[in-house]
């Protein structure tokens, strides 16, 4: 099966190379450099100054005259630092022609993502060092798909509102926040970026830390150990037993005990006893192997034990 996918992929890539070589031959460089506006932002605001959505930029980091790194720093290109040279845009178009556009940001705008993102990355490369290999980049996400650069309260940078931005594309994981047991995204007490780096990282799932476990330890350091008696999957990968986006099972477990435990443990004796309907309260044989916390009624130190008598994770 893997071989088949690869053979298809190679065929597709070969086709892509062929098509791209044709396109390359067709692409011609422009023959003149574009010009900038006469008076910078003052020129722009003649037309756009009445729009509150535009003027919000003056309450953001981008519009700080005291910071020479920002578009509105001394000597900088102001609006045109991001929107590109606006000289042609400021000229009245000839009859029947459209006004020459500047770079426009956001999905559905005239500028493509390939035109938008380089404007941001030109200054923010050091902050977004892994953007080039991120899932967002791979999927053609534009910076302005998530960020409101003219809004001082950019919703994606506020943990209480960020999830609404992410939801636009990631409906399924955000729906998980409504599961009976979930991290507090719905309440705005955590954000997707509490764990993930939306600008990319070199870790799994664009996590902020090097591994899943090291990400979890930032809030759950009590699970880090190292313990005297370790539970092997715990030190390897928290998601072997937990679903971090939410679960129907308490503790955000993938399955409730005893069934979860019996996916790896079936030793002779009580670990091998099946959970059966007769074992529930009111059944013919109510069982502590099944009810309450199941196996964890006794083996409560499932994350590891530092007790010399914690061999079986009971102490």
């Amino acid at each position: 099966m893997t071989r088949r996918v690869w053979s298809h992929a190679l065929a597709v890539l070969a086709l892509g190379c062929l098509q791209a070589s044709v396109a390359l031959a067709e692409d011609k460089p422009a023959d003149e450099a574009p010009s900038y506006s006469k008076n910078g932002a003052d020129t722009c605001l003649n037309c756009h100054g009445g729009d509150p959505a535009v003027m919000g930029i003056f309450r953001t980091k981008h519009a700080q005259p005291g910071d020479p790194r920002t578009p509105f720093g001394h000597g900088q290109l102001q609006c045109e630092a991001c929107h590109g040279p606006g000289g042609a845009h400021t000229k009245r178009p000839k009859k029947g022609e459209q006004r020459t556009p500047v770079v426009q940001f956001g999905r559905g705008k005239a500028s493509t993502i390939d035109e938008q993102n380089p404007m941001c990355l030109a200054c923010h490369n050091s902050h977004l060092g892994n953007w080039h290999v991120s899932a967002h980049s791979d999927n053609g996400v534009g910076c302005a798909d998530c960020h409101q650069a003219h809004d001082a309260l950019d919703p994606v940078r506020d943990k209480a509102t960020q999830v609404d931005v992410c939801r636009k594309c990631h409906q399924l994981p955000v729906a998980d926040s409504l599961l009976p047991f979930a991290h507090p995204l719905r309440e705005g007490q955590m954000a997707c970026s509490s764990c993930h780096s939306p600008h990319g990282s070199l870790a799994d799932a664009s996590l902020k830390r090097d591994t899943i476990n090291e990400t979890c330890y930032t809030c759950h350091a009590d699970k880090r150990g190292p313990f005297l008696w370790e539970h092997q999957p715990v030190s390897e990968d928290c998601t072997l037993c937990h679903k971090p986006h939410g679960s129907s099972q308490a503790g955000m477990l993938t399955q409730r005990p005893p069934f979860l435990c019996q996916q790896c443990h079936g030793a002779q004796g009580h670990p091998s006893v099946p959970g059966l309907p007769a074992g529930v309260a009111g059944g013919s044989n109510p069982s502590a192997y099944l009810l309450g916390s199941g196996c964890a009624n006794c083996h409560s130190q499932v994350h590891g034990s530092n007790h010399p008598s914690g061999t079986w994770l009971t102490r």
């Binding site: 450099a33 000597g75 007490q189 999957p233 309907p277």
Partner: protein, 709 residues
């Protein structure tokens, strides 16, 4: 031609901007006449403050799980934010939220643009878990739980004749408080130093369990711990890349590293009237890392890398084997603490290339290692649950090395069609486990289309295969079933697919999303046999006139697993299988109506969520013992209506009403009273069930000018 000009402008601007952040723009444009006279930069203090009240009409830990509104009664609604700035670029701002609630937070930031920034922050996070629990235990000091003096021990819970009179209600939950500070200093244009510190204090209790051999009990375990984290370093950026050197340190300090509790049962040995569990040990971890990238001069290539080395340490003093002096005397501790010594390594590098606007690819290498070099810990015996002497035992240390190589390439075949393919090889080498190595090979193809109009389609399909190699059951005092395979070390075949669709017919905006995955553990006679997960979701939104919009959304997921086992006792055995199916359905809708009569904003949201978890057990003999478990179900209905009215340019009045209804059925806790089971003294939590109304009114006042004045 127009596109050519635009592309050139983009390229030039990007190059110029990347060339440096000097005071003069690198484009060489004379901006001496760009006075920005019409730019309304902030020069004065601007702020907004909210004062109001909320009323909650019912107690519910589940409703208040993370919002702190768990008690019936009135709450103050106090929030404020604001800031000031001078022409020289110095500034400060603050943000205070929910000061009257258990979710209160505060942040204060000050600095000088382009030079230095400092911040202080404070944040509280409640986690209310149970308010229907009861226990006979009372806390004595920080690390002991005591039964009443007139407690009557029993061989089982039915013999605890003083139980009913000893039970007291106790709430379970924690409060997490985070305080932090950060400082960033820009040395010139390219070098930045930064340092961040935070401390989390976690206090409260959790529902925990312990046992004396086959007799178990639940109790409210006190939690009192602190976690300090520091990250500091420097970032240097230059024209074609950056480098960041950083150090991360973490220290966990638990005030409850041991908990002693009275034995409610008749002791197995005369002096085992108490038990003692170890808490999470104090521990430390640190990581030194070098990150960066190079923007290479050909094919728009970027080489990103990360090199990180870390350690994890733990030297908490061991507890005695038991509370029983007699049992302790039977065996000796090999040493006084673990002196754990674990090192971690993470090396990553990824090269992305874009030789042509229509072609891009990246290849990556990742190496992760957890090397547990802790000295051997073996005992000639131990004390099992403060009751009897156990067999000799040796603590297994777990190490692993994980090496991954991946690649992805994409071609934009036509302007409307991109096709890509990727693959990954993932080798995980483990020590002291059933398999020495698992190797996963994964491959996939992707397609992105914009065939016409607003339609966007993204799809992915792939498969993966895990080869686990020889599986050797590790011998122990109780023999493991040789047919069972731990699923993370088992052979596995997987298929997965994803599809996203977005389009905007007429004024509608429609987004659909679906995914499917299937895992087959074909070589696992017992254990997890298969898992299947499919889910889909959709949202439709539409503007209504100039000022309003409506939306509908919904999702469904279905996760099914099969597992098999064999009940084994010395003289007989029987095979069994359990099928699980977790279904989850959500639906929602609402509307936003802004600036009605230029003064009123209205928002209405409805949310529905239902989870169901049928479980079906099958056994080969007697077959009548199997069958379906009682239904597991939760159902949430939530309505929130809010409105605000602009009294004038500075004052806004808001009102909100929330109704939320939640019901659940869970056979694992339903009907399990403290003495329902002979061998489990339960805290008897009830399945969650609430219907809560919250009403609130607030006044928001704006101080100072605004950008639109």
């Amino acid at each position: 031609m127009r596109n050519d000009k635009l592309m050139l402008a983009v390229a030039m601007s990007a190059i110029f901007a990347a060339a440096g952040a000097a005071a003069e723009n690198a484009a060489g444009v004379d901006t001496s006449d760009w006075a920005c006279e019409s730019c309304p930069f902030q020069k004065d203090y601007e702020a907004e403050a909210t004062l109001g009240a909320e009323y909650v009409d019912e107690d519910s830990a589940k409703f208040g799980e993370y919002n702190g509104l768990d008690q019936k009664g009135a709450y103050a609604d106090v929030s404020a934010r604001g800031g000031g700035r001078t022409e020289s670029g110095t500034y400060y701002r603050y943000d205070l939220k929910d000061l009257g609630l258990d979710t209160r937070e505060a942040k204060f930031v000050a600095g000088r643009e382009g030079v230095i920034e400092g911040k202080l922050y404070y944040d509280e996070l409640p986690h209310r878990v149970w308010d229907t629990t009861a226990t006979p235990y009372t806390r004595s000091g920080k690390d002991a739980l005591r039964l009443p003096s007139d407690w009557v021990r029993g061989g089982s819970t039915s013999g605890m004749t003083a139980l009913a009179g000893a039970l007291s209600p106790v709430d379970i939950g924690t409060d997490r408080t985070t305080v932090g500070a950060g400082l960033a200093y820009l040395f010139g244009s390219n070098l930045k130093f930064f340092a961040d510190y935070s401390r989390q204090d976690i206090e409260g209790s959790k529902l925990a369990s312990a046992n004396f051999l086959f007799l178990a009990l639940q109790y409210p375990e006190p939690i009192d711990a602190a976690h300090d984290q520091v990250e500091a370093g420097a970032t240097y950026r230059w024209k074609s890349g950056f480098a960041k050197l950083s150090w991360y340190g973490s220290s966990y300090d638990n005030s409850v590293t041991a908990l002693t509790f009275d034995n409610p049962y008749l002791p197995a040995a005369p002096d085992t009237v108490q038990g003692r569990k170890a808490g999470a040990p104090d521990n430390k971890a640190q990581t030194l890392a070098l990150d960066g990238n190079f923007l290479l001069p050909w094919w728009n290539s970027v080489l990103s890398y990360r090199l990180a080395e870390g350690t994890m340490d733990q030297t908490e003093d061991f507890l005695p084997f038991s509370t029983s002096a007699a049992l302790n005397a039977t065996t000796l501790l090999p040493r006084g603490d673990l002196n754990a010594d674990v090192s971690t390594s993470h090396y990553r590098a990824t090269l992305s290339v874009r030789p042509h606007p229509r072609l891009r690819a990246h290849v990556g290498y990742r190496y992760d290692e957890r090397d547990d070099g802790t000295a051997d810990f073996s005992t000639t015996g131990f004390v099992e649950s403060d009751s009897v002497i156990g067999a000799p035992a040796s603590a297994r240390r777990y190490s692993y090395k994980r090496t991954r190589v991946d690649g992805y390439g994409e071609a934009r075949v036509f302007d409307w069609l991109s096709i890509g393919a990727g693959a990954e090889s993932d080798k995980l080498e483990r020590s002291n486990q059933e398999t020495d190595q698992t190797k996963e090979e994964r491959s996939y193809v992707e397609i992105r289309m914009r065939p016409w109009g607003s339609i966007e389609v993204n799809g992915r399909y792939g498969n993966a295969n895990v080869k686990a190699g020889d599986y050797t059951v590790i011998s122990g005092p109780i023999p493991e079933n040789p047919l069972l395979r731990k699923f993370n070390q088992a052979d596995r075949d997987s298929d997965f697919a994803e599809l996203r669709l977005g389009f905007s017919p007429w004024k509608l905006a429609i987004a659909l999303e679906g995914s499917y995955s299937f895992d087959a553990y074909r070589q696992s006679p017992l254990g997890l046999v298969s898992g299947r997960d499919y889910r889909y979701a959709g949202t439709v939104s539409m503007p209504v006139g100039e000022k309003a919009s409506v939306y509908l959304s919904g999702s469904y997921q279905n996760i099914a697993t099969k597992q098999a086992g064999e009940e084994v006792f010395p003289n007989w055995s029987r095979l069994w299988q359990v099928d699980h199916e977790d279904e989850f359905t959500t639906a929602g809708g609402g509307m936003v109506w802004k600036k009605v009569a230029d003064k009123v904003d209205v928002r209405l949201d409805y949310t529905y969520a239902r989870s169901q978890g049928p479980i079906d057990a099958m056994v080969d003999y007697p077959s009548s013992a199997g069958g379906a478990f009682p239904k597991l179900q939760t159902e949430l209905n939530s309505v929130r209506l809010s409105a605000s009215y602009d009294v004038n340019e500075r004052l806004r009045v808001g009102a909100a009403w929330t109704w939320e209804d939640y019901s659940s059925s869970d056979w694992q806790i339903a009907g399990v009273e403290p003495a329902t089971l002979p061998n489990l003294l339960s805290m008897s939590p009830d399945p969650y069930d609430y219907s809560v109304n919250v009403i609130g009114v607030s006044f928001t006042y704006r101080f100072g000018p605004s950008v639109n004045d």
